[in-house]
Amino acid sequence: MRRKFVYAAWLALQLLLIISFSCRDTLHALAEGPTILPDSFKDVAHKAETVLSTSLGQELPASNPARQALATYLHVAGIEAGYNYFAPNVPSGYKLVFELHYRDGRVEYELPSITTAAAGLRIAGLLDYIGRTRSDPVREILVKTLAQSVWREHPDVEGVRAILGSIALPSVREYEHGNRESYEFLYAYDFSATSEPAKPHDR
């Protein structure tokens, strides 16, 4: 009987956490993206998200033991994020192209090198992160890591320019009129054979 009570109490806590974090992420999505709701709802969603985050201890200092314990449990149980995949709308993706400059003046183009479709899905997730992150140093480190792997396959290259762009997808009607996916330039990084830091170029 006592054991069942402990199980039931754990389940109540588990469900409370799942619902709370799902609510928080849904509110975040509503506050960020265009939805069918009136624009005034964005402020409400943003405020509700802040209140929920605060009550879940997400505004506590990162070193707070309670916050650390909660974060650990959420990650090991796989419930640290909500479930609004491709919602409320399907976001645009990102594309990273490497421009390889050879000593003899030749220029070739390469994409991040992976061998399987399963890894391709994961690289797409990485590109999404690179495209969306607001941290310039993190973006540069990740682009540099991908550039290094291309460089290893082409050791005779003198310099590599990594160009990141967002993908603009055509609507059905646009596609029928001959429009195809297009790219909007976001960032470019130059890497040379010397160990100098990359030279970023913003849009």
């Binding site: 069942k4 199980y7 039931a8 389940l11 588990q14 469900l15 799942i18 619902i19 799902s22 609510c23 849904t26 999505a29 509503l30 265009p34 939805t35 069918i36 990162a62 650390q68 314990a69 650990t72 990650h75 090991v76 149980a77 796989g78 994020a81 909500g82 479930y83 609004n84 995949y85 491709f86 919602a87 409320p88 709308n89 399907v90 993706g93 594309k95 992976i114 061998t115 399987t116 479709a117 399963a118 890894a119 899905l121 994961r122 690289i123 797409a124 997730g125 990485l126 993190v138 480190i141 990740l142 540099k144 890591t145 993908i167 997808l169 609507s171 059905v172 596609y175 029928e176 996916e181």
Partner: protein, 305 residues
């Protein structure tokens, strides 16, 4: 009376069929996951990318397991990073195989959960929804009353039948979690206009790297997209309502599984689809179809003549 009902709801007597489906399904999923990433495993999980992901994760918590723990430990013994990463892959693959046949079920479930969690967290930038669902499934599997009677553990040793109410409890946990997942997934989609007019379905199908089907073919089905979008919203949002009723459960389970098969075929997300189908069938699939014994009674009598 209310307390009795609650207890009966949370601890219903249950067989271990659902647990066998979960164990075999997740074992197969872990094997497929390992094999599909074999060639890119070290590329995705070693070097700077791993270190940056782990550093960002440590801002949230220092206690979430990562491959960095094993790498640091092995470095003191003089073992190189690549070798540790490969051993993690090997351990994950072996635990998937062990789960599939049911050898050392509890240990295999814990090993699979730990190694997959480490890989998912160390490859944080390259993780996606499938990793979350696999973590959830393995987390519940390792806590459930293993082994089930279809495992080799059960056959080789003289195990006692587990508490049927505890089996029922863990199945209930999985059922309730799935209801929340689909409810919020459907709710968020309902707020986007693209799911009502079909443009989100179109965008999901042509967005790289999910563009498995040629858009020239897809565009001929343009009138189906709005219906497909509304159906997805209905299936997901209505899941926590219609999956419980015995009258609608079969339709809803079949609909959700069909949706996941379509995602696998049309978007190439076969690992994601498989884990969702396994979780759904384990949670709500058993007991839907008549037992073999009942079918036998329908056979014509042969003794009288």
């Amino acid at each position: 009376m209310q307390a009795f009902r609650t207890r009966l709801f949370l601890f219903p007597p249950e067989t271990d069929h659902w647990l066998a489906i979960l164990r075999v399904g997740l074992g197969f999923e872990v094997m497929l996951y390992s094999v599909s990433l074999r060639n890119d495993w070290c590329y995705l999980l070693s070097g700077i990318t791993r270190k940056v992901a782990e550093a960002l994760l440590s801002l949230e918590s220092h206690f979430v397991p990562t491959l960095g723990w094993f790498v640091a430990l092995a470095a003191q013994l003089g073992v190189r990073e690549e070798r540790v990463i490969f051993l993690a892959w090997l351990g994950l693959f072996a635990s998937g195989c062990a789960l599939l046949v049911g050898v050392a079920c509890r240990f295999s479930a814990i090993a699979a959960w730990l190694l997959h969690l480490c890989a998912a967290k160390s490859g944080g930038f390259t993780s996606y929804g499938m990793d979350n669902f696999l973590t959830i499934g393995l987390f519940y599997l390792m806590l459930s009353p293993l082994p089930d009677r279809f495992s080799l553990d059960w056959r080789l040793r003289d195990w006692q039948v587990r508490d049927p109410q505890l089996l029922g409890f863990w199945r209930r946990v999985l059922q309730l979690h799935l209801c929340i997942i689909y409810f919020f997934s459907g709710l968020a989609k309902c707020f986007g206009s693209g799911w009502w007019n079909g443009s989100s379905v179109w965008r999901a199908l042509i967005r790289p790297p999910f563009n498995v089907i040629n858009p020239e073919i897809l565009v001929t089905f343009k009138y189906v997209f709005p219906l497909a979008g509304v159906l997805v919203c209905l299936l997901e949002f209505g899941y926590p309502i219609f999956i419980w009723s015995t009258r609608t459960r079969k339709i809803w389970l079949l609909g959700v599984c069909t949706m996941h098969v379509a995602i696998a075929v049309a978007m190439g997300m076969y690992l994601f689809s498989l884990v969702m189908i396994v979780l759904n069938v384990a949670a709500f699939g058993t007991g839907l179809f008549p037992e073999q014994g009942k079918k036998i009674r329908l056979q014509p009598e042969t003794t009288a003549a």
